[in-house]
């Protein structure tokens, strides 16, 4: 099922399918968040934003607006 990181529930995982090039900072890719990688949503901040994810061995916090643009296949 195709969705974005922002739609995952805590503990759920997915594989990154596509990253919208236009609005995604290069730095996110450089931290290991790129197509083909496994991503897990670890925790959501109390006010629903930002999201705390594990991807490609990195633990990152990203804002929801960015998470919305990372498309994944849920596993």
């Amino acid at each position: 099922m195709s969705t974005s990181i922002a739609n995952l529930k805590v503990g759920e995982q997915g594989v990154i399918k596509e990253i919208s090039l236009e609005n995604i900072p290069l730095s996110l890719l450089e931290m290991g968040c790129m197509p083909g990688e496994n991503v897990e949503l670890l925790q959501i901040a109390p006010l629903k934003d930002p999201l705390y994810i594990r991807v490609n061995g990195s633990h990152l916090a990203i804002r929801k607006e960015i998470a919305d643009q990372i498309l994944i296949t849920k596993i």
Binding site: S27, L28, L42, P46, K48, Y52, R63, I66
Partner: protein, 703 residues
């Protein structure tokens, strides 16, 4: 003995890799912190004795995840490594990686290696190998990475000798690029690029086009070529993405052969702590508790050393007066320079204690959790979760706080943080608050436990934070500043802080204050001294005129001296200045004497107290027990016949000091950080107008 030229070594690495520990281990106390020209990023350079004949000059570059910068600090890494004529251009680069996040760390290595400068990979925190269930094939890794790899544990001082040996033999390192970016992305494009700049490594040319604004080392023709390549932004961005993906593919292949981790052995401290520390209730409770502990300790621990410093400088000043022959020079020393230096040193305890806590919180990895917790809230006020550190630091001093805003990647969020930080109650406001509160708020207890005076102080702190947030909110909606936000933060592993690193951070930040603010405070103290001890003809004749006054006949000798000093101050340049602004400040409930104190507060706010002490001629007589507080309390406003420092005028002063931007050092640092006079002037006039209006309203409503 024959000595070789120092080998220049640049340390590069991700944040949280132990790069700083390694730097401290290599250089020990042989390090100094300076600034990069024109900007305030700390530049750490140290020397290291490699062997009998060789020394190295080690440059600790700011932590970065990539050579493509997103913050100003990271820009330094790029600038240093790009330009062979840069004074810090290294002979050899040491890329520091940590054993656990080796994959992400290798991305940086892969970029750096392609610059074709000798590069060594240090895999740090190797003491964790067993505990984390990691296996690593060092020999194969060296072969695959086409360079030397050294395992170290900087905290346990392991592998350092081996690293020194490798650095010494840097000539023998392979300088081939690691990733062949030309073939995998767009072969024609990159061959064309290579042919246009045959003398440069291909990757360097690529960075020139994608990252560097203007590169001085090129001639006009080459600059023109670079500009034409820069045009197709879309394409560049696409290729950068492809480049990154390609690099990771290559790294993954290398790691598959050389690195194995048994996840079942990894202990999950992270997730257990995260469950509590960023819990939707406990997260905030713990953060609030930590803040309370910090503020409490600043007050408790700092008061003793601050009193000692105060006494010490007062003693120094009075002994200078006694020992030196009377005259202008002595007066400059005892009334200008010594109190000026004292005014700087007195803040060191509070600043050092605050940064001790900030450094510990950052070292443990907790600060990233605070950023995570606070980001959404702070965004409503135009800031980012990362603005929390500057705002907290602002309670010690706005100067290091504004410098800490460098970590914020979005320009708008960073700018707003810089603009509102001076609202937080810095330590220079405290002496002013303390004396006015003591004058106008009765020593009562509320509900039996809280002291009314303490609550007033607390209210002023809250006022400081609240005005920072609400002006942030306003600026967020008013400022039209472009700039995308690249908020991505790493949530590092929890660690026990290294005492050495904490110590060095505290020293660094304190130095930033002493040299950032200190110079200006000292200079203004001397100017104020001049303005107070010189004046037009009426000042030079003051002594004669004063002696001819009829009302002085009944004065005792020491009273005579005091009143003469006060009279002379009135005739001095600063007295004239105070009088000339009196009409403007009368509506706020102040007289010209407070006017003088307001003007002199531009050096630093706490000068207010010292100035009033001089004006009310206290301090000359230790036998007489009237304190400055009692003198101020007795002062009568000649217009109203009431006490000058009564409740309305005192409240008005508190409000004025809470809002006004009376700190030239902060304005100077804002100018440097924003590279424009526009923003410090906005602060000066915006906060000044707010202070004036708010004090006027306070005074009018209360009278």
């Amino acid at each position: 003995m024959f000595k070789n030229k120092a080998i220049k070594v640049a340390l590069v690495g991700n944040p949280n890799t132990g790069k700083t520990s390694l730097f401290n281990q290599l250089t020990g106390l042989n390090q100094k912190v300076g600034n990069y020209p024109g900007i305030t990023v700390e530049k750490k350079v140290g020397t290291c004795q490699l062997s009998k004949n060789n020394i190295a000059k080690i440059i600790d570059l700011p932590g970065t995840y990539s050579i493509n910068p997103t913050t100003l600090d990271e820009n330094i890494v790029l600038n240093t490594l790009m330009s062979a004529s840069h004074e810090d251009f290294p002979d050899v680069i040491v890329v520091v990686a940590d054993i656990e996040n080796i994959k992400r760390n290798l991305l940086l290595y892969s970029q750096i290696k392609d610059l074709q400068i000798p590069t060594i990979l240090v895999v740090n925190m190797s003491d964790q190998i067993q505990r984390k269930g990691i296996q690593i094939d060092l020999e194969l890794l060296k072969k695959e990475l086409k360079s030397e790899v050294v395992l170290t544990s900087a905290r346990k001082n392991k592998g350092i000798d081996k690293l020194k040996e490798v650095i010494e033999n840097y000539h023998s390192l392979n300088t081939d690029p690691l990733a062949n970016i030309s073939k995998r992305i767009d072969a024609d494009y990159f061959i064309n690029l290579k042919n246009n700049f045959p003398s440069f490594p291909l990757y360097k040319t690529w960075l020139l086009i994608t990252q560097v604004e203007e590169f001085e080392e090129l001639d006009e023709k080459e600059k023109e070529k670079v500009r034409s390549y820069k045009k197709d932004k879309e394409k560049l961005k696409k290729y950068q993405h492809k480049e990154t993906i390609y690099r990771y593919q290559q790294i993954n292949e290398i790691l598959k052969k050389t690195y194995r981790v048994d996840r079942s052995k990894a202990k999950d401290l992270r997730s257990k702590l995260d469950k509590v520390l960023i819990h939707k209730v406990w997260g905030y409770v713990i953060f609030a508790f930590i803040l309370m502990v910090i503020f409490q300790s600043i007050f408790d621990w700092a008061s003793v050393p601050m009193d000692l410093i105060d006494e010490f400088f007062a003693y120094l000043s009075s002994s200078a007066k006694e020992l030196l022959p009377p005259g202008t020079f002595t007066s400059l020393i005892s009334e200008g320079i010594i109190p000026g230096i004292g005014g700087i040193v007195i803040f060191i305890p509070q600043i050092a204690i605050l940064f001790l806590f900030v450094a510990i919180l950052e070292e443990t990895g907790y600060m990233s959790r605070v950023v995570f917790l606070m980001d959404k809230i702070m965004r409503r006020f135009g800031m980012s979760g990362k603005s929390v550190v500057p705002l907290i630091s602002g309670t010690a001093c706005a100067i290091p706080a504004i410098m800490a805003a460098r970590n914020i990647s979005g320009w708008k969020e960073r700018l707003i943080t810089i603009l509102v930080t001076p609202f937080t109650t810095c330590s220079a406001r405290l002496p002013v608050y303390a004396i006015i509160i003591a004058l106008i708020i009765p020593q009562q207890r509320v509900l039996g436990i809280f002291s009314l005076q303490g609550l007033t102080l607390l209210a002023l702190y809250i006022l400081g934070f609240a005005s920072a947030l609400s002006s942030g909110y306003l600026l967020h909606h008013v400022l039209k500043v472009k700039g995308k936000n690249l908020f991505v933060i790493e949530m590092p592993n929890y660690k026990i802080p290294s005492l050495k690193n904490v110590f060095y951070t505290v020293v660094e930040k304190t130095k930033a204050f002493v040299f950032g603010a200190g110079k200006i405070i000292l200079a203004i103290s001397i100017i104020l001294w001049f303005l107070a001890s010189n004046g037009p003809k009426s000042f030079t004749d003051a002594e004669i005129n004063f002696k001819n006054k009829p009302e002085i006949e009944n004065l005792k000798p020491e009273q005579f001296d005091e009143q003469l000093a006060s009279y002379k101050l009135e005739q001095s340049y600063i007295g004239i200045m105070g009088k000339s602004i009196e009409p403007a400040i009368k509506p706020l409930g102040y007289d010209w004497k407070i006017g003088i104190a307001l003007i002199s507060s531009f050096a630093a706010r706490e000068v207010f107290v010292g100035t009033l002490a001089t004006i009310y001629s206290v301090g000359n007589d230790d036998k007489d027990n009237t304190t400055i507080k009692e003198r101020m309390a007795a002062e009568i406003n000649p217009d109203t016949g009431e006490k000058l420092f009564n409740f309305p005028s005192g409240m008005s002063l508190l409000v004025f000091y809470a809002f006004a931007m009376q700190c030239i050092s902060t304005l100077a640092i804002v100018k440097r950080e924003t590279n424009s006079w526009k923003w410090p002037l906005l602060q000066l006039f915006g906060m000044g107008a707010l202070a004036y209006v708010a004090s006027f309203l306070t005074y009018t409503v209360l009278t």
